[in-house]
Subunit: 119 residues, 2 copies
Amino acid sequence: MNKVNLSGKFSLFSEHWTPKIIAELNDYQIKIAKVEGDFVWHNHSDTDEFFLVIEGTLFIEFESETMELKTGELCVVPKGVQHRPYAKEECKIMLIEPRGVVNTGDAESELRASNDVWI
Amino acid sequence: MNKVNLSGKFSLFSEHWTPKIIAELNDYQIKIAKVEGDFVWHNHSDTDEFFLVIEGTLFIEFESETMELKTGELCVVPKGVQHRPYAKEECKIMLIEPRGVVNTGDAESELRASNDVWI
């Protein structure tokens, strides 16, 4: 049985927009990422996506609004909904999604990261 | 698109061991609970269970060890594993599990709570 300390895991890497797996729950994965700057517009056609801000402020731009998520705030982006995360300053987030989800969804982008890196 | 503020949601109730749903991710539910005192030994034969401590200290007793989870620490209890959560002082936790999971799993207990209460 493994205990995971979020702060400890965040201290192990510095790169942005590269989700790391920290735990699995059935066929779902719990991931963390540091984000800063702009991500790409994308959607995930087959799954919702969960964002929880652990530290900092995350913006998620949708077609009709921009959501501002601060520390301790979360949202679920429904499947198929176009969105673009960005952060003005470095922000630490926790993600939950089914195993195998690619961070950039349907978008072709150099921000596409490996989707099977544990930390 | 709904933003959920964890502190705000926790401020809406005071009872212990009664998970409240705050978001859904596909067929999974994100729940929060306040816990204090002893829960019952139980297991969930068909699903893993995710615990994240938002504030306080949660203990999870297993047959061969007791895990101490502090603020910002998490663990996943594998399906079928007997466990008994408890907290010496009030602790705020976030849970993730498939829709429909009952908090007491296989155990008959007066601590069995409704599994479909949103907050």
